[in-house]
């Protein structure tokens, strides 16, 4: 058998992942045509590269279809119930930084904290007859966060894209979304709550706790971990 490593199949995230492994002596490359999702890995025998959509990597790790995978912390925590029982983070990779935050319209000068959001949600519901809407695609993370902080009278509205536009379109009153620079939020007249950081996220190398390993795979995994984790230790 081989040890399967799943990495994002396109774009900047793929390039940065390739660079990160190259710096640790593992050369990842795409094979075949540009459109074919096949890859090769050189530098360590017994490994196989699998190119996947970043959003599917958490599920493939949890199902044990791949042994190792590169994806965002946010996606692992959102998509995998009880994530720590199915995957182990091996290394934070230092790119793909993005924070999941709660944002409200900038002109809400009376709202600065979750405390304010909660009070506003109660008043909003009394006036409009329905719960204040927060648009997001991170339902689990946002719900757990708001419940942990005792915020009530809100509802989550599913938004799979252009979430920052939902307030202006009046399909939501607030949003919870990933931001790296905050530019998109500002351009859409939104501001982040002072205590509204739900989760800081970055590209992370995870190991599956469910994938089957034969003796050869286990030996390969030890060598692989030595390559990727020594570096983390020496960088500190």
């Amino acid at each position: 058998m081989t040890l399967k490593l799943g990495v994002p199949s396109k774009g900047r995230l793929m390039e940065q992942t390739f660079d990160w492994f190259a710096a640790r002596g593992l050369t990842l490359s795409r094979t075949g045509s540009d459109r074919e999702y096949a890859g090769a890995i050189a530098g360590l025998a017994g490994m196989e590269l699998v190119l996947l959509s970043a959003g599917e990597i958490p599920r493939d790790l949890a199902a044990g279809r791949i042994h190792l995978g590169v994806t965002g912390t946010d996606l692992v925590r959102e998509k995998l119930p009880d994530w720590a029982s199915v995957v182990t983070p091996l290394a934070e990779m230092g790119f793909g930084h993005a924070d999941l935050v709660i944002a409200v319209p900038s002109f809400w000068t009376d709202v600065d904290t979750l405390d304010d959001l909660d009070a506003v949600a109660a008043a909003f519901r009394a006036r409009h007859g329905f719960r204040l809407r927060i648009a997001t695609k991170y339902h689990r993370l946002v719900r757990d966060f708001l419940r942990g902080h005792g915020v009530a009278d809100y509802q989550l509205i599913d938004s799979q894209g252009a979430t920052e536009g939902t307030v202006k379109n009046e399909t939501a009153e607030a949003i919870a979304d990933i931001t790296s620079s905050g530019d998109t939020l500002r351009a859409n007249h939104l501001k982040v709550l002072a205590d509204g950081l739900v989760l800081p996220s970055q590209a992370t190398l995870f190991a599956s706790r469910t994938a089957a390993l034969d003796a050869d795979d286990a030996a390969t995994l030890v060598r692989f971990r030595a390559l990727v984790q020594n570096d983390v230790a020496s960088a500190r």
């Binding site: 009880d82 002109f107 000068t109 009070a119 109660a122 409009h128 204040l132 009530a152 939501a172």
Partner: protein, 358 residues
């Protein structure tokens, strides 16, 4: 579902029916938009909700009480006693060992005559067929805390905020500390209130308008001007929440406390009558544990007596049976009408599991 569970559920239902309850059924598919708000945060997050093109947001029944109340308020004659048996559905997102579909067998009483007697009737009928399991009974009374909050010497806005967060203990405590002046407001709040033109000039977007922002700033100003909650009031509330022990001792402590806290006198008297009604039905109140915080983690529709029957040596197991009084829910679903009501459920699969483990 396991045949043994169904058989046992039918036996429990026959027990309730033999005491005069009418068997009822409710649809599995329920309208989520109206009903979901009536449960606690926990159930809200765990209901299976889906979109129906014609009927709007629908959910798989997460409990029976709300649909049974709705049915009774629509066309029930009182007094009434109902029993039901069927599946409820709750998503399990973290604890994968828990069932997401399970049976409940319930007994609900709608009766204006004697609240204490109805409380005791429900508790006794639910506890009787479980006696052999040696379960621990934990009771509480949400009416005490609700009354204590209503009786605080502070602004209606503060009381409403505290009342709203009774079921979220951490935020409840944080609000108390702020109203008492024990935690200062954030610096940004002080800056906002000191600002002569607090509305700013960012563009107005979304349904919540600048008039709403102005209105809230006015209410923040009013709150900043309100005197802090008295330390003695907070201490009494803290004392109330700390009451725990066998029911008779808890009642004695409550009676002492109610001398300084007149707001809870009626709720304390209700507890005394309930204790007498339980004793009249052959239950020794000293065997029932009372905890003033019991019920704060469960259904938000309970507003009086609450109880759970718990397997003492299996703390991770959900309660084998639980229930409570929900007078206000009947008003919410009754379109103006209301009737005192109390009920509870047994989970037959947990009963079978405990019996098998013996």
């Amino acid at each position: 579902m396991d045949r043994a569970i169904r058989t046992r559920a039918a036996a429990f239902q026959a027990h309730f029916a033999s005491h005069g309850a009418v068997p009822v059924e409710t649809p599995i598919l329920q309208p989520a938009e109206v009903l979901l708000d009536l449960y606690g945060e926990d159930i809200r997050a765990r209901a299976y909700v889906t979109q129906d093109p014609l009927r709007g947001e629908q959910m798989l029944r997460p409990d029976f009480t709300v649909p049974v109340v709705q049915m009774h308020m629509a066309h029930g004659a009182d007094p009434a006693r109902y029993t039901y048996a069927g599946e409820v559905f709750r998503r399990q997102e973290t604890d994968t060992g828990r069932a997401s579909e399970y049976m409940q067998v319930g007994y609900e009483v709608f009766d204006r005559s004697d609240a204490a007697a109805a409380d005791a009737e429900v508790f006794t009928l639910i506890a009787a067929p479980l006696v052999h399991l040696g379960l621990r009974a934990v009771t509480g009374d949400m009416g005490l805390l609700i009354a204590a909050v209503a009786g605080l010497d502070t602004t209606p806005a503060r009381k409403a905020a505290l009342r709203r967060h009774i079921w979220r203990p951490a935020r409840f405590r944080a609000l108390l500390d702020r109203y008492a002046g024990r935690t200062p407001p954030p610096a940004t709040r002080a800056a906002l209130l000191a600002n002569a033109q607090p509305l700013g000039c960012a563009p107005e977007i979304g349904l919540r308008g600048r008039d709403d922002v102005a209105a809230r700033i006015d209410s923040l100003r009013a709150d900043a001007a309100a005197p802090p909650l008295a330390a003695a009031d907070i201490d009494r509330l803290t004392d109330l929440l700390a009451i725990a022990g066998p029911m008779p001792q808890a009642l004695a402590t409550l009676e002492l406390l109610s001398r300084d806290l007149p707001a809870i006198r009626r709720a304390t008297e209700a507890m005394r009558l309930r204790m007498a009604a339980l004793a009249a039905r052959g239950i020794d109140p000293a065997t029932l544990h009372f905890d003033a915080t019991h019920g704060r983690g469960s259904m938000e529709y309970y507003d009086g007596f609450v109880f759970s029957l718990i397997a003492p040596d299996q703390p991770a197991l959900p309660p084998v049976a639980s229930g409570g009084r929900y007078d206000a829910l009947t008003r919410v679903l009754g379109a103006g009408a209301a009737i005192p009501a109390v009920g509870g459920v047994i989970r037959p699969e947990l009963v079978l599991m405990l019996e098998a483990a013996r």
